[in-house]
Symmetry: C2
Subunit: 247 residues, 2 copies
DNA sequence: TCCGGATACTGGTCTGACCACTTGACCAGT
DNA sequence: ACTGGTCAAGTGGTCAGACCAGTATCCGGA
């Protein structure tokens, strides 16, 4: 009985907001939303601590993280100033841009789909050239959980696992890190996105085509099979988003 | 007299290593070099502070930054453990991987060139579709400083500016952030790379081709012109690196 | 007018304390 | 044998306050 109850309870980890995280989020939001304009000076650490009702180390930690993300410029003795984040921030900022105030930014989603469509075929081609035989089973397993599972979100995860292995096969640090960053943006929004992407992940045969081309060491075929798989959902969603923006 | 002396002195900014930065670098190096294996526990903050001879807040700040980069997992009440950075870290880790112990990692450099060759043509194609008329002058100016300057490093910077504008024209957040991250990896190593890339940036006419295709709103032409520009240096360097790895 | 230094900011760092959480061992019930 | 409770030790989380180290500004003397 206990087991059954557990499944139904839909537990989620208790969200314990840490103080520096909270501060970081607030400042980050102000920067991303433009309430703190580029070039503008932030209040001093002491002042921020006072205003936010937290200790100075907490503020300090948040500001250092902002600096690491290249969102602000901290100068010893001088004021901390806001940078132009679109010109300086790295790909790791993407999650924060995709979901803002708990809702998806569709223009960012569009951009992600676009980039995915441009990059994934190249990665598949690389995997076709370099992939080891071990890929065979890994991809097969991902495909079988893709057709075995009926939960939309689980299928999204299976698809992510599939691409994860393809990226492995490409043996490219840069594409690996890019994938990690994109995944980090995708996963927090996976519930909202699962519905939109459902049509794509149900094309199990298309995934099989990609796998066959990769394992046949045929980069051109891998490229085109990947594009065939990704393009429909991409263009559909982009036009849907476009219509949505009209209204 | 004073002015002339100044120019000759070859000043460089005094490196003021801040304590938390130093700690961050040390731990990061240990993780990236594998001396701290994934899954392994770090010493406690107090112990680290003691061993490194710094205060606990300094250690703490470094660890929080490690956590933000997804290199370690900090758990309240439990131990801080090392993550498998190749699977979790984002593109912003790239600079640290490209130059390690003050020398270039050629396999990372190869990967960057590869990725650049795969992505840049797509970005140029997007810019051809979406680029505004303002691009015209911006690109022209970048090209003229490309042919005007005779310092190799200055030409690298001019080329970066050129691509910066192309990325602008593509109007894609994702490609913009990717470019920022790649640039952040490239710039610290620009002196070493300027020599290797000299052949490419001297092909001023090839840049003109790209610009012409983009301004003609011809995505296919932009794609192929970009590939024509980037491929030679890329394949040359990759084979050179390959030979180097043999020896 | 210009320069140079006092001064009042800013961030950088440390100490030491206390709170909150996790772990594991031990123990009491069932 | 297994649950659940309790407790102590160790960990990260947070704070207060102090002092050091740079920067910016303004003001008085040359």
């Amino acid at each position: 009985m206990t087991g059954a109850t557990l499944v139904v309870m839909a537990l989620k980890p208790v969200a314990r907001r840490l103080v520096p995280d909270e501060v970081f989020d607030q400042i980050l939001s102000d920067v991303v939303d433009g309430q703190l304009a580029p070039g503008e000076s932030l209040p001093s650490e002491r002042r921020l601590a006072e205003v936010l009702g937290v200790s100075r180390p907490a503020v300090r930690e948040a500001l250092q993280r902002m600096a690491q993300a290249r969102l602000v410029d901290v100068r010893h003795g001088g004021a901390t100033t806001v940078r132009e984040f679109r010109r300086s921030a790295g790909l790791d900022l993407l999650p924060r841009l995709l979901v803002r105030n708990d809702e998806l930014d569709v223009s960012v989603a569009r951009s992600i789909l676009e980039a995915r469509l441009a990059i994934a075929p190249e990665v598949a081609a690389l995997a076709a050239v370099r992939g080891s035989e071990a890929l065979h089973d890994a991809l097969a397993q991902a495909i079988s959980s893709l057709e075995g599972d009926d939960d939309p979100v689980a299928r999204q995860r299976a698809a992510l696992t599939f691409w994860d292995h393809v990226v492995d096969g490409a043996e490219s640090v840069v594409f690996r890190l890019m994938f990690n960053s994109l995944r980090a943006a995708y996963e927090p929004a996976i519930d909202a996105l699962a519905v939109l992407m459902e049509a794509e992940v149900s094309q199990v045969d298309a995934y099989r085509e990609v796998r066959a081309a990769v394992m046949a060491h045929d980069p051109e075929a891998a490229r085109s099979a990947t594009e065939t798989l990704l393009r429909p959902a991409t263009t559909n969603l982009i036009s849907a988003i476009h219509d949505l923006e009209e209204a």
